[in-house]
């Protein structure tokens, strides 16, 4: 995809890539945020992108895709379990944004709003898949059937994590994926999932506690003996 060489105000950058945390030490929240100036820049870029999309400029949608497409698709794949459904969900999200942008009043950031639509679209897709499964009288437990992907990934760890994630509550899974995988901040996640920041932090804590139990039960006495 070309970059179109646009001279638009939002050309600059909108928190495009996830926070790169490497072997991040918690709590990232306290390192992020930065000066108010950067936040204001991001806000005005977000508003400019929303305005350009509202005007029907397809290049604005392309810009939205350039910045967030890969992350949207990755999130959708983790929610739906396969790349085909993920691409359908992302495309549907772009169409929904296009259809309803006139009604977007900026109560949240445009990008937050877009991700909220994506997450809802993924859950709609899961529900409709579940209904089809039920009709076909197959196993009614909805857990995404995960497909192999990036060849460099550690298959055993990834599969174990995917299986464990499928056992979390919907909110726990969403928050874990948005925070730990996609690198969003709790303030952003709160906007996407319509919860408070405190609830987002608590949900992440509960999610990680459960995952820890499932993936690596505490060694208890063994650890203490060392």
């Amino acid at each position: 995809m070309g970059t179109m060489g646009l001279a638009l105000p939002w050309k600059a950058r909108i928190s495009s890539v996830p926070r790169e945390r490497g072997t991040r030490v918690e709590p990232s929240e306290h390192f992020v945020g930065g000066p108010n100036l950067a936040a204001e820049d991001a806000q005005s870029e977000d508003a400019a992108l929303a305005a350009a999309c509202r005007s029907g400029d397809l290049r604005a949608y392309e810009r939205l895709y350039e910045i967030h497409g890969a992350r949207m698709k990755n999130l959708a794949r983790n929610l739906l379990g396969n790349p085909v459904d993920a691409e359908d969900a992302v495309q549907e999200t772009f169409l929904k944004v296009h259809r309803s942008i006139a009604g977007f009043r900026g109560q949240s950031s445009f990008v937050t709003w877009t991700y909220r639509i994506l997450i809802n679209t993924c859950y709609d897709a899961r529900r409709s898949r579940l209904r089809k499964k039920e009709v076909a009288n197959e196993d009614s437990e909805e857990s995404p059937g995960f497909e192999p992907r990036a060849p460099g990934a550690h298959p055993t760890l990834r599969m174990a994590l995917e299986r464990a994630l499928a056992k979390l509550t919907q909110h726990q899974r969403d928050v874990f994926l948005l925070y730990e995988v996609e690198g969003f901040r709790h303030a952003e996640i709160a906007g996407m999932l319509e919860m408070t920041e405190t609830a987002s932090k608590n949900t992440l804590f509960q999610a990680k506690k459960s995952l820890r139990q499932m993936l690596e039960p505490p060694r208890g006495s063994a650890a203490e003996a060392r």
Partner: protein, 222 residues
């Protein structure tokens, strides 16, 4: 800052940078906390296994096409809305007369098209004949329209079965005319599937029916 084992979970959930640093210091001399901190951090590392931002070059063009189609539909709807926006300004009698005239025009032109089609023999050298690939495309477009129309028709059925206004009654009549024209064209297309003109007329009829149903649904929302 003094941190003990009992502070660990609270710091995991919402600790400040300073509290995390203090927990690390404590963990250096507490095997339980050391293990817990290691396991906690390893979850963040493991989460990276779920990241795959590889490029898929054909994905944006696919979205772009869908958006362009959507934009065209939106523009068509807006155009029609403008066209019909004068309707509320004129009297009910004139609205009925106009809708009646529209039905008449559609009936006459549909009949004329069908009449002409019946006497046109397929000519093997005719450029209007569709090649098999194009035919498949046209057929899949027709299927897509049929599906979209079926959905719309189901939504609009209550309004059309019991039309609350003369305008809705007229839409109902227009749809009946369109249905009969579509049925005739489909029968013709079945006999002569590669006649391009016939298929395009059928597509135009589908488009008209879709637009009409969308207008019925919009009329309901007003």
């Amino acid at each position: 800052m003094n941190v003990t084992c009992s502070d660990r979970d609270r710091i995991f959930e919402d600790g400040t940078t300073g509290e995390w640093a203090a927990l690390e210091v404590h963990a250096a001399s507490c095997p339980v906390c050391k293990e817990e901190v290691r396991a906690w951090k390893s979850l963040s590392v493991a989460a990276k296994e779920l990241r795959d931002y590889s490029e898929s070059p054909s994905f944006w063009p696919r979205i772009e096409r869908a958006l362009a189609e959507e934009a065209t539909k939106k523009a068509q709807r807006a155009g029609l809305r403008r066209w019909f926006s004068f309707l509320p300004e004129i009297s009910l009698g004139w609205q009925t007369a106009l809708a009646g005239a529209l039905v008449l025009i559609l009936t006459v032109s549909g009949g004329w098209i069908l009449h002409r089609q019946r006497f046109v023999e397929p000519n093997p050298d005719d450029q209007s004949l569709l090649k098999s690939k194009a035919l498949k495309e046209v057929e899949s477009a027709e299927t897509a329209y049929e599906r979209a129309i079926d959905k719309l028709a189901a939504e609009a059925k209550p309004q059309l079965d019991n039309p609350a206004t003369p305008l809705l009654a007229n839409y109902h009549e227009k749809l009946l005319v369109l249905d009969s024209a579509i049925a005739d064209l489909r029968a013709q297309a079945g006999l002569n599937p590669s006649n391009a003109q016939l298929r395009y007329q059928l597509l135009a009829m589908y488009q008209e029916k879709q637009r009409t149903l969308e207008e019925v649904l919009e009329a309901r929302q007003r």
